[in-house]
């Protein structure tokens, strides 16, 4: 048992670190907005309270759907479709990410940003 000591310590601290990270950056309560960013810049935000289906992007696109207070990507032409497979998100901090399109849909709470809804 003695020779495993450091391994156990390491594994334990890894799990502890995961817990700490969870508390700091993990998903939170039910959010109010689906914020869409491309390459780090916000391009639109949609209130989760309203049902909407919108096409994000022209040649490279993702179809964002908001229904029942949850956001999801219904369709995309990115190739790996991780964004579609992610399913629905609704809590603050949760995200849907499309890496090839550099697209991130994040749930945020509180009041809106500069826009109510912006396309393009």
């Amino acid at each position: 048992m003695k020779k495993w000591k450091y391994d156990v310590l390491l594994t334990g601290s890894a799990l502890l670190a995961a817990l700490v990270l969870w508390l700091i950056v993990g998903p939170g309560e039910k959010g109010s907005w689906a914020v869409v960013t491309v390459a780090g810049k916000e391009v639109a935000r949609y209130p989760l309270a309203e049902e909407v289906t919108v096409r994000l992007g022209e040649r490279d696109y993702n179809i964002l759907t908001i229904a029942g207070g949850r956001a999801s990507v219904a369709e995309a032409n990115c190739g790996d479709l991780t964004c579609v497979k992610t399913g629905e998100i609704s809590r603050e901090g949760e995200t849907i990410i499309c890496l090839p399109h550099k697209l991130v849909v994040e749930i945020a709470g509180g009041e809106g940003g500069e826009f109510d809804a912006v396309s393009g």
Partner: protein
């Protein structure tokens, strides 16, 4: 390099590729990108302990290149390379320190493989949002690391791959 060595390295590389393919076929989590079983690390850690750092590095690089070319895209290559490099660097460091068994080294390797991937993804997307995935990835990296480490330790003890 003698032909026997070439053949054995090729064998290990092929094995690493098969394990990579295998874990891609078994979907672990669709919601969180990067949740992989990290099975290929089994071969890397085996090479690390039985041959050495350089061999393990070459093996890891070959695996990343071949798997990305065959199954992935440029992004996949970047993430995979980042994860594998960070993972190997940390593993080599911990191994040289001498206080950890292959299991501990493997846990660190698994965790940092995922962390490396997330860091690169965050850089590519220019966002800090992906940090939300860190808890899950650290836990899965740990779990995979333990499994791979235990299996790896057994293999390291019992399998003679090079004279």
């Amino acid at each position: 390099m003698r032909s026997k060595q070439v053949a054995r390295y090729a064998l290990l590389t092929a094995l690493a590729m098969v394990l990579s393919w295998l874990e891609a076929v078994v979907p672990v989590s669709a919601a969180v990108p990067g949740v992989k079983l990290g099975l290929a690390n089994l071969v890397v850690i085996f090479a690390l302990y039985t041959v050495g750092v350089k061999a393990a590095a070459a093996l890891s690089l070959a695996r990343v290149l071949l798997v990305s070319l065959t199954f992935g895209n440029a992004y996949a290559f970047a993430y995979s390379l980042a994860g594998a490099s960070l993972s190997l660097g940390v593993m080599a460091l911990l191994k040289s320190w001498g206080r950890f068994s292959p299991v501990g080294v493997s846990v660190a390797g698994g965790v940092f493989h995922n962390v490396g991937q997330i860091l690169v993804a965050m850089a590519v997307l220019e966002t800090g949002l992906l940090a939300a995935y860190l808890p899950v990835l650290v836990v899965s990296g740990t779990g995979a690391g333990v499994a791979v480490g235990v299996a790896g330790a057994v293999l390291i003890d019992r399998v003679r791959i090079l004279p």
